[in-house]
């Protein structure tokens, strides 16, 4: 096959404009397909990062919007295999403008960095958070986005809670993922709330000793509260995040049907190009045959051209996908699994393979027809 490489390249360059348009549309379609596949991989195939695999979340069985008594925390900690448990409160609220979307949680300062061993923060800032009741810490990404500096005042107007919290930024943590979150202190929030609403939270973070004991821990926690008024649902942090994804509707079907439409459209586009390209060259095929090229050699050259164009498109598409994936990661997202979105090598490989396959499939019919045409007929062919 490599013998014919120069011929393949040459015939691809025959109509530069057409090849360019085909490669460009293949690149666009494949970059989109790659992004969708990366998202699909992140949602349904990929494993949680090692640190995250140790964390579970306990929340109300019915709805994350109904709170649980904070006393559950001690009971959760007694479950064998639980290293640490921390109540955390989703605050919601508005920072200056409702368009400023980022997560705000009220947590316990002494437990936050045990829960999230993947967060790194200078020791003095960590202590400052434990010392100052109105202190808060933010992720590096968030600090960069809003230009927060240590000592800044941040005011959040509550919507779920009828209070306004006035915070002082005491620390900035670094993390590979989830670095656009603001944490402040739960005890400060409770101080502001009316008596009736204190000591209740939306969820508890649970840290397990090993990923293997996770299923057992989840089950034991839920069993413990089986007969209480507020039953719980405990699931791995990853699964909890994916629960939010499923609220968007049938995401799986959405991703799959769009991917299918994309692939099919690309197939049509390339098949169209190849049909045109082959049609133009029937006489040339006759000449090649006269020169002694076999049918299979001609088939290789024609199919090679199609595969070359789409795999070039695939390569460019891969690069664009990396770009798109980086962009999505930077989005202020409420869909947490997307904040660690990456183009895995396996997905990239699959994407390239799809590109080549589309090329081969699209060239098959016209190339087969041209390669089998008798010499005389080919030489006499007029378009």
């Amino acid at each position: 096959m490599f013998r014919y490489l120069p011929l393949i390249l040459k015939s691809s360059m025959r109509s530069k404009r057409r090849s360019l348009l085909t490669v460009a549309s293949a690149a666009i379609s494949l970059s989109l397909l790659g992004t969708l596949m990366a998202v699909y991989h992140a949602f349904y195939i990929g494993e949680a990062p090692p640190q995250q695999a140790l964390r579970a979340i306990t929340r109300n069985r019915v709805s994350p919007a109904i709170m649980l008594p904070i006393s559950y925390n001690d009971k959760i900690k007694q479950v064998p295999g639980v290293v640490e448990a921390m109540p955390f409160q989703f605050f919601g609220g508005v920072y200056k403008d409702p368009k400023n979307i980022f997560a705000r949680y009220a947590v316990q300062p002494d437990r936050l960095f045990t829960m999230h061993a993947d967060y790194t923060i200078p020791e003095d800032q960590k202590l400052a958070f434990q010392r100052e009741k109105t202190g808060c810490v933010v992720g590096r990404g968030l600090a960069d986005r809003y230009g927060f500096k240590i000592g800044d005042r941040i005011t959040l107007k509550g919507d779920i809670f009828p209070v306004t919290v006035e915070l002082k930024l005491v620390g900035i943590y670094d993390s590979l993922f989830h670095d656009d979150v603001l944490f402040f202190r739960l005890d400060y929030l409770f101080d502001l709330l009316p008596e009736r609403r204190r000591n209740k939270v939306f969820a508890f973070h649970v840290l397990a000793d090993s990923p293997n004991s996770m299923p057992r821990i989840c089950k034991e926690i839920d069993d413990q509260f089986r007969n209480s008024t507020a039953r719980t649902r405990t699931e791995a942090e990853r699964a909890f995040e994916l629960g939010f994804v499923s609220m968007l509707g049938n995401v799986k079907a959405f991703l799959l049907s769009i991917s299918l439409a994309l692939t099919f459209t690309l197939l049509l586009v390339t098949a169209n190009t190849m049909a045109m390209s082959v049609r133009e060259r029937v006489r040339e095929v006759g000449v090649l045959k006269t020169l002694g090229f076999t049918t299979s050699a001609i088939l290789t050259i024609l199919l090679g051209e199609a595969a070359f164009l789409t795999s070039l498109g695939g390569l460019i598409g891969c690069c664009v996908t990396v770009l798109l994936v980086t962009l999505i990661r930077r989005l202020p997202s409420i869909i947490l699994p997307l904040s660690s979105l990456q183009l895995e090598p396996s997905v990239a490989g699959l994407l390239l393979a799809i590109g080549v396959c589309i090329g081969l499939a699209s060239g098959l019919v016209p190339a087969w027809g041209a390669a089998r045409i008798p010499i005389l007929k080919a030489l006499k062919f007029t378009d």
């Binding site: 404009r17 057409r18 348009l21 085909t22 460009a24 549309s25 666009i28 379609s29 970059s31 989109l32 969708l36 069985r61 019915v62 709805s63 994350p64 919007a65 109904i66 919601g92 107007k157 509550g158 919507d159 779920i160 009828p162 009736r196 609403r197 008024t229 629960g243 939010f244 499923s246 609220m247 968007l248 509707g249 049938n250 959405f254 049907s257 769009i258 439409a261 994309l262 099919f264 459209t265 690309l266 049509l268 586009v269 098949a271 169209n272 190009t273 049909a275 045109m276 409420i334 869909i335 378009d383």
Partner: protein
């Protein structure tokens, strides 16, 4: 005189496979756009149908959803005699104190279950919702653990038909009826007796919201102002229609992704159309030369080729519309990040949406046809005639 349309039609027919393949590519692109629009449109219809223009929803100040709102019974007693609230035949104010919570319905089809709103209301609450009626069975009786289930829920979860049970807190509630209110999101809710659910949830004094009916549109505006400004009450009042309109935002992520994909696919598809048209132009060099010799001007040639591209796109547009037609009235559900409950809606492929699809196809055709057409128009007569 323009080049006859029959010329373009015959050319498209001449290259059948190419025409069809290009049109199908365009059709799929149109179909992606239209299915997203149909989804968003259907969801909007559902929420639009959900509010009564005269109704006012009152929540605790700062709360954006009924679920997050805590509404004291005393506040209700203070506000129900405000001026401007409609009265029923008995002279009672049309104001309904309600409690909204969420339950999780599990079924064989949805093992993790889906959250639906569980609403406690009093008889006045039923009267406030015009168009709400029992479809099968009967209304719940006060003081009993009985519920009436929305039509869409009953359709999606056969387990909660009449005679079935739903679970709230520690108790089981009997399903005694199925209700329906046009296309409203009430069809995705479960209703029960207010006092019974308040007692079960230990929320006899702290409920969720109040729904009022204003006596007329002018009184409505004044009433909203009056309620919102009343420091003592500490509530936010808003038109029920506005409240539901805001919930349409749940579909924003789907809408964004869908439109983005459609836009990128459009680039690919117009490239394909461009390829096809370039090929058409180069095949027909001699014909173009002949046309020029016959006296057709450059601009007429340009228009003719552009028109051919638009015809191709129109074919794609029609095919795309046909492709999404089966989606019409397909039922699906979407969750809300603000209420954590699910609303059922139907895809709506309306003529307006199909019109947008045709325009979109036309746009792709125009972009794809412009360069090849100008290329055709600029051909030198002699060179064109001599080409093979």
């Amino acid at each position: 005189m323009p080049v006859p349309i029959a010329y373009n039609l015959r050319n498209l027919r001449e290259r059948k496979t190419q025409t069809l393949m290009t049109a199908l590519g365009l059709a799929l692109t149109v179909a992606v756009l239209l299915s997203v629009l149909a989804l968003v449109g259907g969801l909007r219809d559902t929420f639009r149908a959900s509010g009564d223009p005269l109704n006012i929803l009152v929540l605790r100040k700062g709360a954006t959803t009924e679920l997050a709102s805590n509404f004291a019974r005393s506040v209700y007693n203070d506000l129900k005699f405000k001026p401007g609230i409609a009265r029923d035949q008995a002279g009672e104010p049309m104001a309904s104190l309600e409690l909204v919570t969420v339950i999780n319905l599990e079924s064989s089809e949805h093992p993790d279950g889906m959250n639906v709103n569980f609403r406690g209301i009093s008889p006045v609450g039923i009267r406030l919702r015009r168009g709400l009626a029992i479809e099968r069975g009967r209304w719940f009786r006060p003081g009993f653990r009985e519920v009436v289930v929305g039509h869409s829920i009953a359709a999606r979860y056969p387990e909660v038909g009449i005679g079935g049970k739903v679970h709230l807190g520690r108790a089981d509630w009997d399903v005694v009826g199925i209700m329906r209110a046009g296309e409203s999101s009430i069809n995705s809710e479960i209703y029960c007796d207010l006092n019974q659910v308040a007692a079960d949830e230990n929320r006899a004094e702290v409920l969720s919201s109040t729904l009022l009916q204003a006596s007329d549109p002018i009184a409505k505006a004044a009433l909203i102002q009056n309620l919102t400004d009343d420091q003592r009450l500490n509530v936010d009042a808003m038109g029920e229609t506005d409240y539901y309109d805001r919930q349409t935002r749940s579909s924003a992520p789907v809408q964004f992704v869908g439109l983005f994909v459609a836009a990128l696919m459009a680039i690919g598809s117009s490239f394909a159309a461009m390829n096809t048209m370039y090929a058409a132009v180069s095949h027909r060099s001699r014909e173009i030369g002949t046309l020029r010799v016959l006296g057709f001007s450059k601009s007429e040639i340009l228009l003719s080729f552009l028109f051919e591209s638009l015809l191709l796109a129109a074919l794609g547009g029609v095919l795309g519309c046909l492709l999404v037609l089966p989606l019409n009235n397909l039922t699906s559900g979407i969750g809300s990040f603000t209420t954590f409950s699910e609303t059922t809606f139907q895809f709506r492929v309306t003529p307006a949406i199909m019109g947008i699809g045709m325009l979109f196809a036309g746009f792709m055709g125009a972009v794809g046809g412009l360069f090849p057409a100008s290329n055709a128009a600029r051909k030198e007569i002699l060179v064109a005639l001599r080409s093979v």
